[in-house]
Symmetry: C2
Subunit: 287 residues, 2 copies
């Protein structure tokens, strides 16, 4: 089938590379405003052809993958609507679902099937030059199904996604998605930002860091044009997760102040149990 | 010279491996209560000989590296004192300095020179079997000098540490050490513990995680027999860092609640600047 990727940045480029490597029977095209990126991808053989004018390729496209900023999606759908092929399948990669689905669904032509998706494979570096099919391997993928989605299309898209190397491909409600992503992705970014910004820059901290500080601040190389809107679109869940996190932190702080070793040890044993569960590891005997 | 490593766990074992690889002219011995670990290290050629009785090797030892739990250090010094060679140099690897130095210095024989040190190369896995000289490469090292330390010994030890692959070897005051480590190491562990323990375990979160959650929780595979005492010994600085972090987090939370995109973007731009400084990277033009 013909697949068109809209937005040939980091995620869109990674889709193109991964499709070429793992599902080469499909013909992959791209739409982008940046004609240099399109020419570069054509020359590298990553896409067959790139277009700046969507009407030149959309009428022949069976699957459209939108890899664009969330706030762009609505205007693109409005613009692309007249050119979409009948029975086209569309999907996206945006990190927040309730408000996106609410914006997009009313705009869709009757025959179009938009299956909203979220590959949990971000990278801290932006742009096509950092794209890689490798980042998808073993990563999680979430679909948020709606009443409109058709079973054969869901199966086709899930199967394609699995071939790209994703491991856990789950279908959840938009509410569940936004809740859990508010925790695993948005809260972690809030924490990392708050950590690096609470540093005393006068002391040249980088001479005194270990792996832990580098780990906890890696995601602070953040795209300020994307994340504020993600935070705002999910602020109910996100603020709730921030508050839950702060409550846990206060319990630990109180134990430290009270020199309550037993409580601290209980928290650490519980954390270690969760760490092992997260990584599917056997919990060793305590030493 | 003769070097004896006390405690052949993860850090002690890494010292032994790294000394063998990078400073093979020295004779390396070890003291441990675990005779199996000693035999195993002897058989692998990582140490010349291991001892469970310290008096059998201390009188011939020029440099003692204590790689033991902080609370053990005082009792070991009391026990080892009669057997220490005249003009012996001692060092440690404990993550907290003010209280350790306060406990140890009064016990030392006149001729012994204890140069307190902290290799910032922890690993989440415990024990000799995870030891590796590789973890030292490019890592930071802090010495906390006291008025007793002698210049030739400082030079000897610093030079040895640099040969093991450490990059930034700094000498700082015990107060500065405990302050900055309270931030880069202890606060990060408090955050990671609070994050993983604020998860809702019912929802099987691991199916919905990306790199960011795995990064921020890696250090939760924590040793509950070590960390509570480290937290307590540094609680003044640590609680201060927790409070500063919480203030930053509250500022970001307020901006999210107020949908204040401009403030969020300022915080993200500042964080990204700090990220690039931390990794010695050029800050790219904003896109």
């Amino acid at each position: 089938m013909n697949i068109t990727i809209v937005g040939l940045g980091n995620i869109g480029g990674s889709f193109a590379l991964s499709l070429k490597e793992n599902a080469a029977e499909h013909d992959v095209y791209a739409i982008d405003v940046d004609s240099n990126a399109l020419r570069s991808a054509e020359q590298d053989g990553v896409i067959i052809k790139g277009f700046t004018q969507p009407e030149e390729i959309l009428p022949e496209t069976d699957l459209v993958i939108f890899a664009v900023y969330p706030l762009l999606l609505k205007s693109l759908i409005e613009k692309y609507k007249p050119y979409l092929k009948s029975d086209v399948v569309l999907t996206d990669v945006t990190g927040i679902k309730r408000s996106i689905i609410g914006q997009i669904e009313p705009l869709l032509p009757e025959s179009a099937d938009f299956i909203f998706g979220h590959p949990m494979a971000g990278r801290e570096n932006r742009g096509l030059k950092y794209a890689s099919g490798e980042v998808f391997k073993g990563a999680n993928y979430l679909f948020t199904l709606t009443g409109r989605n058709r079973e054969p299309n869901i199966r086709m898209l899930s199967s394609l996604i699995e071939r790209l190397g994703f491991r856990n491909v789950s279908a959840v409600t938009p509410e569940f998605h936004d809740d859990v992503i508010g925790f695993t992705s948005q809260l972690t970014h809030v924490i990392a930002l708050s950590l690096i910004n609470s540093d005393d820059v006068e002391r040249n901290t980088k001479q005194y860091t270990g792996d832990s500080y580098r780990d906890l601040t890696r995601i602070t190389n953040i795209n300020e044009n994307l994340w504020p809107e993600l935070f705002i679109m999910n602020k109910d869940y996100l603020v709730d997760h921030i508050d839950r996190f702060k409550s846990q932190m206060d319990l630990l702080k109180e134990a430290i102040e009270a020199e309550d070793i037993e409580t601290m040890q209980e928290m650490m044993v519980e954390a270690r149990r969760r760490y092992h569960d997260l990584h599917d590891l056997e919990l060793p005997e305590s030493d």
